[in-house]
Symmetry: C2
DNA sequence: AATCTCCGACTACAGATGTAGTCGATTCGA
DNA sequence: TCGAATCGACTACATCTGTAGTCGGAGATT
């Protein structure tokens, strides 16, 4: 909800918390993906920025904090998708889908899979 | 191509040049959308940043410069779309479609359209 | 109790971004 | 020809972002 943008680095932290929460700062640092080899202070900085952005909350546990996401991944994903679509496709989702479908080399199997999914959706 | 990211403000300039080029800085400023009421110096700053990012080029015309885009809108759109899909959907196309369909961002008509598109691709 | 260790808070700092101002040179209009 | 308008170059500056360091205090260890 909060319209503060979440940066790339911050998103890395959010993904960790979305997968499992609550976690301490140290726990979060331990779960960083391999390509994000950050120091603990860095993780703490990012967590505190996420706190001020109201994207996560923390609860005291002894003298540590346990962090949990405050915003839903689904909501975030929707928000960012909409942002891209607004910026690049005049606000319409279809052109994005069409564009990606054209770009992507989908195998026949992929296509069948998507077709199946769509059929299910069309209820 | 050039992997330098184009910022939001810079994108506004690119859109103007994609629609019509070459243009002088003053021309660009004159074509700003209503919600971007920037001063001429601002436009010039953005143009020069785009120059160093090799996103536009300029050619002297008397004592002015005529600016033209160096990167294709299609390429940019592809790049940014892929970035979104990578960041939020693990690089896979189907989860995006599923997400959009679930959020009801896609109408039944859209879905039929996608199906048609897929059928065509399956050649 | 003295020390060590770990925590959160605060500070740091370079680069990117949004937004604009100044200034010397040039050209155009009178 | 002389001032006015205009141009590009350079400078400015607050905020955000990526990345990390320092420090005082609370707990744990001996």
């Amino acid at each position: 909800m909060s319209s503060e943008r979440i940066s790339d680095a911050e998103l890395t932290i959010m993904e960790i918390l979305w997968e499992r929460a609550p976690l301490t700062a140290t726990d979060v640092a331990a779960r960083l993906p391999d390509d994000r080899d950050w120091s603990l202070p860095t993780v703490k900085t990012l967590l505190s920025r996420l706190l001020t952005k109201a994207a996560v909350e923390h609860r005291a546990d002894g003298r540590r904090f346990l962090y949990s996401p405050l915003i839903d991944r689904e909501d975030y994903v929707s928000h960012e998708s909409k942002r891209l679509v607004d910026r690049l496709f005049g606000g319409r989702f279809m052109p994005l889908v069409a564009h990606l479908a054209e770009q992507e080399k989908l195998s026949d199997a992929d296509i069948s899979e998507i077709e199946r999914l769509l059929r299910e959706m069309k209820s």
